[in-house]
């Protein structure tokens, strides 16, 4: 039923002011049960995301990096409410998502997602202007207004509406399709955009164009971004703060310069060292990490990274490291950074107990 304000579908208002985080995730957990053998249910679970917590501030780009199996895609789907969490809560601008103050339909208007596979994300039977106009119409906008909004957005993403509006997905290139996906995500005037590997499937030159576009749109529409990628260089370019995930947990979090310049977690350091050097005179001779990212079905006890860590000690198997605060927003879940943890490299001074970073 179209309500009064749906005539233009303006963006929903800012509630808590700039100090309140736009998105707050607390103890987010998602375990997938595996099919059991015989008639019994299996006790094996895939611990895709385990006790994840972080904040995303208004107007910032938070980058999430990690390798396959780390849970970053699951996290994005949990935040979009495409999956129900096993435990934990998501708070959007001070209101619990799905609670009485913020029903799902209002939440969905404010948070939208762009996926990696630009082709699979688009309905092959809808022309792109119809694809973009679809969601506003669902939320009550008249067709003529929805189409006008679609054309406006096509313009904003650099596709001339007269030329591209009536085309179908298979008639566009990968980069153009991804622009359409971005336009579609912006149709409801969201405040937060979740970008799940938006440029991974694109050629390098097209990737640059789309990244420029994303930066441009963020400034123009006052958006916040949750940027998920396995490409460390792209995240370094886009993000203000970075969260490094490993096997469903946060390994390290902090401002982009701190993470890239002074990584405190051995995994972060190894990830950064795995990037090709771009200088043939300084080629690597040994890989920073051996083996494959492990399986989230049976993670190692204690610190999950200890099986591949060059600095692992007995104490790492015994206790799971909490996020130890280092300096101003930079925190790492590694016993080497937690004072009094028992690790040889840990600082000796007994300061305040490690706090979970907000």
């Amino acid at each position: 039923m179209p309500t009064n304000h749906a005539a233009h579908l303006p963006p929903l208002p800012d509630l808590g002011g700039p100090a309140q985080p736009l998105l707050s995730v607390r103890h987010l957990t998602k375990h997938f049960a595996l099919a059991g053998r015989g008639l019994r249910r299996s006790r094996d679970v895939v611990r895709a995301v385990d006790d994840l917590g972080f904040d995303l501030r208004k107007g910032e780009t938070l980058g999430i990096v990690g390798e396959s199996g780390c849970g970053k895609s699951t996290t994005s789907r949990l935040i979009m409410s495409l999956l129900a969490p096993t435990a934990g809560e998501i708070v959007f601008d001070g209101q619990v998502v799905g609670g009485r103050a913020l029903p799902m339909k209002d939440y969905r208007r404010q948070v939208q997602m762009v996926f990696q596979d630009s082709h699979a994300s688009l309905n092959p039977r809808l022309s792109i202007e119809n694809a973009i106009a679809f969601a506003p119409q669902v939320h009550g906008l008249a067709r003529r207004d929805a189409l006008a909004r679609a054309h406006e957005l096509l313009d904003a993403v650099g596709l001339a509406p007269a030329q591209f509006g009536a085309r179908f997905p298979h008639q566009l290139s990968g980069g153009q399709r991804q622009r359409v996906n971005i336009a579609r995500a912006l149709a409801l005037r969201p405040r937060l955009l979740i970008l799940d590997e938006p440029v991974s499937a694109l050629d390098k030159s097209v990737e640059a164009q789309v990244l420029n576009l994303l930066v441009d749109l963020k400034a123009r529409y006052g958006l916040s971004y949750l940027f998920i990628s396995h490409d460390l260089n792209v995240v370094q370019y886009m993000a203000d703060r970075v969260l490094v995930m490993y096997l469903g947990k946060v390994a390290e979090v902090g401002a982009v310069d701190a993470i890239y310049g002074r990584p405190a977690h051995p995994y972060t350091a190894a990830l950064l060292a795995s990037r090709p050097s771009m200088d043939p005179a300084r080629r690597r001779t040994r890989p920073p990490l051996q083996g494959d990212p492990p399986n989230p079905i049976d993670p190692p006890s204690g610190c999950r990274f200890r099986t591949r860590c060059a600095h692992a000690e007995a104490v790492c198997a015994a206790q799971e490291p909490a996020l130890a605060v280092l300096a101003g927003g930079h925190a790492a879940a590694c016993l080497m950074n937690a004072p009094g943890s028992g690790h040889r490299a840990a600082p000796v001074r007994r300061v305040e107990a490690a706090r979970v970073l907000a």
Partner: protein
């Protein structure tokens, strides 16, 4: 056939590959439009290009692996002394997997899902060396250990879907190396892998290439990967090489505007805070190539002469060449 010490391992002149379609109204796609290069034994050449540049088609042409019925191939191609362009299909099956071998991008789909990896490695050996099943299985085990697959004996009977992406790619490398080829072709083998696994596989390839004395032609769209493995880089655009140089020379100073655009568009530590350099427009359609320089429509330094005829790939310095009138003005250009 003995080869003189400076006989190139790969000799390609004016390679052209086009795909015809039976359907009326669908034009022929000119995927490769005149590629020339030589590869010395033990040398690594990286063919750098984006989708549609023709790099994968070129690679497959070296083994005549493109679909037989629709492919029209012409030019001179000699690999390890064998004339590829005029060989019969029977002769080609003896060459493939033996003198030349290839590894592919997606190991999940490039391996047969219903056979164990041990069987798939062993069948290559049995095909070319005729040894019995037990000996082939032993060989497969040795190869898995060579590519550093942990618990190799157990993995011999594993199916592709039971292995991780990194292990699958190692299995594919083992398969390719099984008959000690002289030339290894790699079609974006690390694109689908995580960063920490990618560097392991790249280092492994480099090490194995050195040990086994192979030539390596590596196709990629990633400059970083190229810088880790290449001796020489060839940039491909619209079916032609537009620049060729040693890797250090190239990374220090690419000459062709497209190559410069690629390097500029590559995101790196220093990019932050400024808009990325992009290349305007899109690659040309391969069924409707323009008469002049294929990059002219997107070039910011285009001149009228660029539209008249395709510039030749001419020498542009010590041991490098470029296909651009700006770099090699017609007066000093030598016929390529």
């Amino acid at each position: 056939m003995t080869s003189a010490p400076d006989t190139p391992l790969v000799h390609v002149r004016d390679l052209r590959v086009a795909f015809e379609s039976r359907e009326p109204g669908v034009a022929t796609v000119a995927a490769v439009n005149g590629v020339d290069f030589d590869l010395a034994p033990r040398e690594t050449l990286c063919i750098l290009g984006e989708s549609g540049s023709g790099k994968s088609v070129t690679l497959r042409a070296l083994m005549r692996l493109n679909p037989a019925r629709t492919t029209r191939m012409s030019g001179t191609v000699r690999v390890a002394g064998q004339d590829i362009a005029s060989a019969s299909e029977a002769q080609m099956t003896a060459v493939r997997g033996r003198s030349v071998a290839m590894i592919f991008q997606e190991p999940m789909t490039a391996l047969d899902p219903v056979f164990s990896i041990g069987t798939q490695i062993a069948e290559t050996v049995r095909r070319h060396e005729g040894i019995d099943r037990a000996a082939a299985r032993r060989r497969a085990l040795q190869l898995l250990e060579l590519v550093q697959v942990p618990s190799a004996a157990r993995r011999l009977d594993a199916y592709p879907h039971e292995l991780s992406g990194g292990l699958r790619q190692r299995a594919m490398i083992a398969m390719a190396l099984s008959c000690r080829p002289r030339l290894l072709l790699a079609d974006e083998p690390t694109t689908a892998l995580d960063a920490t696994v990618q560097i392991q596989v790249l280092l492994l390839l480099r090490e194995l290439q050195r040990e086994m004395g192979m030539g390596l032609i590596f196709v990629t769209h990633d400059l970083g990967v190229a810088s880790e493995v290449a001796d020489r880089i060839a940039v491909m655009y619209a079916g032609r090489f537009v620049e060729e140089a040693g890797v250090s020379d190239f990374l220090r100073q690419p000459m062709h505007p497209y190559a410069q655009g690629l390097l500029g568009a590559t995101v790196h530590a220093g990019s932050r805070g400024r808009p990325l350099v992009t290349i305007a427009g899109a690659p040309p359609r391969l069924d409707r190539l323009p008469a002049g320089c294929a990059f002219a429509a997107r070039c910011d330094r285009v001149m009228p002469a660029c539209l008249d005829a395709m510039p030749a790939l001419a020498a542009a310095g010590a041991d490098r060449s470029a296909r651009c009138l700006l770099v090699t003005p017609p007066r000093t250009a030598l016929a390529a």
